[in-house]
């Protein structure tokens, strides 16, 4: 059983949660964006996670671990756009207003985004404490040699 493998598992989670926090930040930043390169208002982005199968079969896998079942981290399967129609607000002065005077804004709820951000932060904390724990154990293993 190799302790460095634990770091890979926790590291994959740190990476995934950081991406999630980035996406949430981008959603919040673009809550009022009405113009995008694709045209139309900004669409809310959402991250989809999936558990990663351990990379059995590679040289590194055989070198680093005495395999003990499927131990794998997490990976980002996709970042998908929310396709619900945006919120319509009456603002005839706005340059992007339609003929009827309504502007379509992205359908972003600050509460949902904040909850998502908190959940990402907590998960990140959890996994970084796992990395700390692993480091402590590797340190202790090195102590045997002293």
């Amino acid at each position: 059983m190799n302790l460095f493998g634990v770091m890979d598992v926790s590291g994959s989670a740190l990476q995934a949660e950081r991406l999630r926090a980035e996406v949430v930040a981008s959603n919040m930043a673009n809550a009022e964006t009405t113009r995008t390169p694709e045209g139309g208002p900004y669409r809310r982005q959402q991250v989809v996670f999936q558990s990663a199968a351990s990379d059995q079969g590679t040289f590194a896998h055989h070198l680093l671990s005495e395999s003990n079942g499927e131990i794998g981290g997490v990976q980002v399967a996709a970042v998908v756009s929310d396709n619900t129609p945006g919120l319509r607000r009456y603002d005839p002065q706005h340059p992007d207003a339609g003929k009827d005077g309504y502007v379509t804004y992205p359908d972003i709820n600050p509460l949902t985004e904040m909850v998502d951000m908190m959940s990402a932060t907590r998960a990140y904390d959890l996994n970084s404490s796992a990395v700390q724990a692993t480091k402590g154990m590797i340190d202790a293993s090195l102590d045997i040699l002293k």
Binding site: M1, L3, G5, V6, V9, S10, S12, A13, A16, E17, R20, F49, Q50, S51, E66, N68, G69, I71, G72, G73, V74, S119, A120, R122, A123, L126, N127, S129, A130, A133, T134, G136, M137, A140, S141, D143, I144
Partner: protein
């Protein structure tokens, strides 16, 4: 000549199991937001008992260590969230602390055991 003692064999197995426990906990923590993921774990006491039996048997037969497969199963009795994931952050946090303490204990004991063997080697000087 054998330098390892029965106690050091058992301790190394204990460390193996502790680090597997840490690994599984890390895996559960990593997958805390994956829909449909089920927490995994194993019965530490049972696996330890089995591996001590294996270690004793392999020592008698003087073969390489037998039976390193640990029976990893999905954990029962956890509250499932609406997305089908049943990882509990509190349970995983506790398991991680437990695995760390176990590992430290095992390591400290192993260190003492090796010091004892070293003392025996140097005893005639």
């Amino acid at each position: 000549m054998q330098i390892t003692t029965p106690l050091s064999d058992e301790l190394s197995r204990y460390l193996d199991l502790s680090s597997l426990e840490l690994k599984l906990t890390a895996q559960n923590m990593a997958n805390v937001d994956v829909p449909g993921y089920r927490a995994v774990g194993f019965d530490f006491a049972q696996e330890m008992q089995r591996s001590i039996g294996d270690a004793l048997a392999s020592r008698k037969r003087d073969t390489a260590k037998a039976g390193s497969d640990v029976n990893v199963t999905k954990v029962d009795g956890l509250v499932e969230r609406p997305d089908g994931n049943n990882v509990s952050m509190d349970r995983e946090g506790m398991k991680m602390a437990e695995a760390q303490l176990q590992f430290r204990t095992g390591e400290e004991l192993l260190k003492r055991e090796f010091t004892r063997v070293m003392d025996a080697i140097h005893a005639d000087k």
